[in-house]
């Protein structure tokens, strides 16, 4: 049938044109977005500030080349901010997305660790902080109630006794919160808790029944040298906390710009943890 034949030919040509139009859209060189002067200035200043406050492990890209960098030993009382990714506005406008954590606050994420980008944020944040601070003045504590093996690369820390076994259920979460609460009580009993080691509590999902307890703990935590990295948080705003939302895009502290999170390879995490473990063994007199 000539009608159908010509009609089908027209459809095929249209589809080919559509494919080429899509290819053209991808190949066309992008132009920088139009930014008001004040926004340009703020982005530049943010990039400068981030470079200053996240030196070394705290701000460098975490690649296989990074894992051999010397581990840091910052003062236990010095506040540490940590980079979680890059806020890319387009063109030449980008600045590191930084979260103030040790010494100043907490990090709460509204999606749980089953999201790849949340997993990347948690891994990179913990690795950066431990590598910069050292485990002698900062003790991590992990709870993964999702029951997965996503925190397995941190196992060398458990094996070296630098942290308790990773909690994998609600009972583990209850134990970890109990330990954190006792840390806060101990700090409250001291006139100056600054000589206490910091406790970094990482929770990968918060069941609704624990939300109030976590919220209460977070409110008293910073003064007691306890810092929380919490994923799967749906309990609303918490004081002294940087909130990160993860849906189609990752957004930092309500800023309407997308953040590209830092990926961290598994072997970088486990290598850093092994080095921290070896370092600790050396400190207590064993063979490194």
């Amino acid at each position: 049938m000539p009608v159908r034949k010509d009609f089908n030919r027209s459809v095929a040509e249209y589809r080919a044109a559509l494919g080429l139009a899509e290819a053209a859209g991808q190949l066309a060189p992008a132009v920088a977005p139009e930014l008001p002067g004040r926004q340009r200035q703020l982005i530049t200043q943010l990039a400068q500030a981030a470079t200053v406050i996240t030196p070394g492990w705290l701000g460098q890209a975490l690649t296989r080349a990074t894992k051999d960098l010397p581990l840091g030993r910052s003062e236990g009382t010095q506040p540490l901010a940590v980079r979680i990714g890059v806020c890319d506005v387009g063109g030449d406008y980008a600045f590191p997305a930084v979260v103030n954590l040790l010494g100043t606050g907490h990090l709460f994420i509204d999606a749980d660790i089953t999201h790849d980008r949340v997993l990347a944020i948690i891994r990179s944040t913990v690795v950066r902080l431990l590598a910069a601070r050292g485990t002698d003045s900062c003790r991590p504590l992990f709870v993964d109630p999702t029951g997965g093996n996503r925190l397995d690369p941190f196992t060398p820390l458990v094996e070296a006794g630098l942290t308790s076994p990773i909690g994998t259920d609600e009972a583990g979460l209850d134990r970890a919160l109990g330990e954190a609460e006792s840390h806060v009580e101990q700090a409250a009993a001291r006139p100056d808790p600054s000589d206490m080691p910091e406790l970094l509590l990482v929770i990968t999902r918060v069941p609704p029944t624990f939300e109030e307890r976590v919220s209460r703990l977070a409110a008293r935590a910073v003064a007691a040298r306890l810092h929380l990295i919490v994923a799967g948080w749906t309990g609303g705003a918490v004081r002294q906390t940087t909130h990160v939302s993860v849906d189609e895009q990752v957004r930092l502290a309500g800023v309407a710009l997308p953040v590209t999170v830092d990926e961290v390879p598994d072997d970088v995490v486990s290598t850093v943890c092994r080095r921290l473990a070896a370092d600790q063994n050396w400190l207590i007199g064993e063979e490194p």
Partner: protein
């Protein structure tokens, strides 16, 4: 610069973005050309979809097909896309032109087409009649000499109503169709007679 400065700047940026809106990003240097191409694509898509009910065709999937050879740059891709759209446009026009012509022998004259339909029907009727004769003998199928041309004529007459009309009407008025019944009947009977004669001469 301290972490407090960073927090202050971040909060200022959030306020700025709330006041003036997020930056308009994602633009390209080829936006006018891409936009013109998009307009043509949309227009052709609409033409295709509008022509489907007229032609009695199920609307096709209009998804993109990846280019067989990746274009070297955006400009070349846009040029190729326009060429494809040109061809698509002319193919659709051709389809619509075919659709305004009768479905059978669209380029021939009306009388030729209609007589060809009668002739085809007569040949088929002769073929069926021959098979009946082979099974039952001449005497058993004698009535067929009358039935075959008449049924061929009747079927041809009806078929002209379908094959002699175009897919789509160009006017709202009902189309008057000259079916040439006299010539059709003569043709059907003649073909039947010629076939019988040929069979007799052939020693049947």
């Amino acid at each position: 610069m301290s972490s407090a400065d960073y927090e202050r700047l971040l909060s200022e940026l959030a306020t700025e973005l709330t006041a003036t809106g997020a930056p308009r990003g994602g633009g390209t240097t080829m936006d006018p050309a891409l936009s013109a191409l998009d307009d043509r694509l949309l227009s052709h898509q609409a033409d295709l979809l509008h022509s489907c009910p007229k032609l009695g065709i199920t609307p096709p999937r209009l998804t993109a097909t990846a280019p067989t050879t990746p274009p070297p740059d955006a400009e070349a891709a846009i040029r190729q896309a326009h060429r494809h759209l040109d061809t698509a446009g002319s193919a659709l026009m051709q389809a619509m032109r075919w659709a305004t012509m009768p479905r059978f022998l669209p380029k021939s004259r009306t009388r030729t087409r209609h007589l060809a339909i009668y002739a085809l029907c007569a040949v088929v009727a002769v073929g069926i009649h021959a098979m009946v004769i082979l099974q039952n003998g001449v005497m058993g199928a004698a009535l067929g000499f009358a039935i075959a041309p008449l049924s061929a004529f009747a079927v041809g007459y009806l078929l002209i109503g379908r094959l002699g009309r175009p897919w789509i009407r160009t006017t709202a008025k009902p189309m008057k169709l000259n079916r040439y019944p006299k010539y059709g009947l003569i043709l059907c009977v003649s073909i039947d007679l010629f076939a019988a004669l040929a069979w007799l001469l052939g020693g049947g």
